[in-house]
Amino acid sequence: MQGKIRAQLLKGTTTLLVLTVLRDGELYGYEIAQRIRERSGGAFVPSEGSLYPALHALESAGALQASWRDGDRGPRRRYYKITTAGLGLLDQHAQEWVAFSQGMGLAVEGAKR
């Protein structure tokens, strides 16, 4: 039950999480999923099925730039880099999320009383 609620809360935040971890540097898909898991202390584990459509949609929108490169010690991988437009989108999403979470926090606190 707890996992289901978390998945529903996570729904719609993939874009924000992807842009957040890519702000620190280029990553490939699997790394992005791992980085999100690490940074959230395991609280957020993005669905791998929704990660790649989100990455490709952000690339189509010009928020990300993708390129195939040889890995440091591995095969060719598709790396994603955030663009200037992507940074603007990140700011926008972050502000919306803060406002949303604050409002939600107040509402939930009220429900506890």
């Binding site: 490939y28 898909g29 699997y30 669905s47 791998e48 099925g49 929704s50 790649y52 459509p53 989100a54 490709h56 949609a57 690339e59 189509s60 929108a61 195939w68 095969p75 060719r76 991988r77 598709r78």
Partner: protein
């Protein structure tokens, strides 16, 4: 620099610019239609479970319906992801098969993943980019195919003319193709050939560019462009292009929309190799050939416009009596009809016979009332008769006696001192060589010719559809 030269430079520059733009668009589109990335060999070389991964990715790819290059890139990216995921799961203690099942399960249903990836790629913006790019590429591709085929046809004609000249110098008779009919057939074949080539290249460029920029599969885009190409090029070939026509030209006209469909569909999944190189060479070479060729022809005194030809009525035996005997002098004073005229305006031929005073003072050429001259006559009309082709050296001249009746009859309309009628020879398939007369029924009830009439020739001028539907 004169205005004409400036116009020519702008014209040629515009053409080359559009062709260059089309080539750039094709190259851009090919980036997405090419082979794409090679799959991750960590998975491919791993026989166990690779089959289930392939099945998963095949189902996903079928749902994506993206260009081959994009599909290959996504497959390679997901294989890379699966390799990492499977390795991590095995490190956690999963056996290999269980790790594959778990990794695939985390990606979710393949159909759903394919649908989401398609939505991520096939955005509205890319749809418009594909459509706009396809239209521009269609225009540039048509120009490239048209001028390339025109130059190739021009060279072939020059070679054939040279060969015919050599053969005739050896005393071997060659067919005379320099006839109006031969010209109409030759022009129709040549025009159909260059239009078909232009249509085929146009559609191929359009499909590849719209698929690449719009992130659609070429086969999907080809369906749209085939329908559009057949309608546009078919309408143009049958209804749009006007000029001399022939049955041969009418029969081969459908080759243009067929070529458009062929260009859009035939092996459309195959990448277009090295479009930038050969296309530019063809464009510049073709323009150079055509410009130099026309320059040489014009400097040799050859005109590219048609010539008109008329014959006077004073030559012996034009077989006018085949149409009707001349009116007896007692019923129509000599010189009453002083002349006939024919002119064409806006595609409509206008025939007229003008009358002069039948009096000793005829030199004054004062018009007389027609009622006096034509008293006792009725059913006055203009008749157009087939004439012998006047371009054949040993042909009879005048009215063609093999035709028993006129091919057009128009009532004569009294207009002041003239009789008028409207003809439209240029819309008559079989009316190129003609001779018209004014005839009428005299006091004895028989039909007579009122003058020697007027002869000339008017080539058919219209579309293929006009030719097919034209009256004889």
């Amino acid at each position: 620099m004169t205005l004409n030269l400036l116009t020519l430079v702008a014209f040629v520059g515009g053409f080359l610019g559009l062709i260059a733009l089309a080539i750039a668009l094709v190259r851009r589109g090919e980036l997405h239609l090419g082979p794409g990335q090679m799959p991750d060999d960590r998975i491919v070389q791993h026989a166990d479970g690779a089959e289930s991964i392939d099945v998963y990715l095949d189902r996903m790819a079928a749902e994506m319906r993206l260009p081959a290059g994009d599909t290959a890139d996504i497959r390679a990216e997901l294989l890379d992801h699966l390799a990492d995921s499977i390795a991590a799961l095995e490190a956690e203690g999963f056996d290999h098969q269980a790790a594959i099942r778990e990794a695939l399960g985390r990606l979710g249903p393949p159909v759903e993943l394919g649908r989401q990836l398609r939505a991520a790629h096939q955005t509205t913006g890319r749809l418009f980019a594909g459509a706009g790019g396809g239209v521009l590429a269609a225009g540039g591709g048509f120009l490239l195919g048209y001028i390339g085929a025109a130059a190739a046809g021009f060279v072939v004609i020059l070679v054939l003319a040279l060969a015919a000249s050599l053969v005739s110098r050896l005393g071997i008779p060659t067919p005379n193709l320099s006839t109006p009919d031969g010209n109409a057939v030759g022009n129709g074949l040549y025009l159909t050939f260059v239009l078909a080539a232009g249509a085929a290249v146009s559609m191929r460029f359009a499909v590849r560019v719209s698929a690449g920029l719009g992130r659609r599969s070429p086969r999907g885009a080809a369906v749209f462009w085939t329908v559009a190409g057949v309608i546009v090029f078919g309408s143009w070939a049958v209804f749009g292009i006007r000029g001399q026509q022939s049955w041969v030209g009418a029969v081969v006209a459908p080759a243009v929309p067929i070529a458009a469909a062929f260009g859009a569909l035939y092996r459309i999944d195959r990448p277009m190799p090295h479009v930038g190189r050969w296309a530019l060479v063809i464009a510049i070479g073709a323009i150079a050939i055509l410009e130099l060729g026309y320059g040489l022809l014009l400097s040799a005194g050859v005109t590219t416009s048609g010539a008109t030809f008329e014959q006077g009525a004073s030559q012996p035996d034009f077989h006018f009596d085949h149409a009707a005997p001349i009116a007896p002098a007692a019923w129509l004073p000599a010189g009453a009809i002083a002349g006939n005229d024919y002119s064409e305006t806006g595609g409509i031929g206008h025939a007229s016979s003008y009358f002069l005073a039948a009096s000793p003072d005829q030199a004054s050429q004062a018009p007389i009332p027609l009622t006096g001259v034509l008293a006792g006559w009725h059913d006055l009309r203009f008749e157009a008769w087939h004439a012998y082709p006047n371009w054949e050296p040993n042909s009879p001249i005048g009215v063609d006696t093999s035709y028993p009746s006129p091919f057009v009859i128009e009532p004569a309309i009294v207009n002041g001192d003239t009789l008028d009628a409207g003809f439209n020879f240029e819309k008559l398939r079989d009316g190129r060589d003609w001779w018209f007369f004014v005839t009428g029924v005299g006091p004895d009830g028989n039909r007579y010719r009122l003058s020697d009439g007027h002869g000339g020739w008017t080539p058919f001028n219209g579309s293929v559809w006009d030719w097919i539907t034209a009256p004889q």
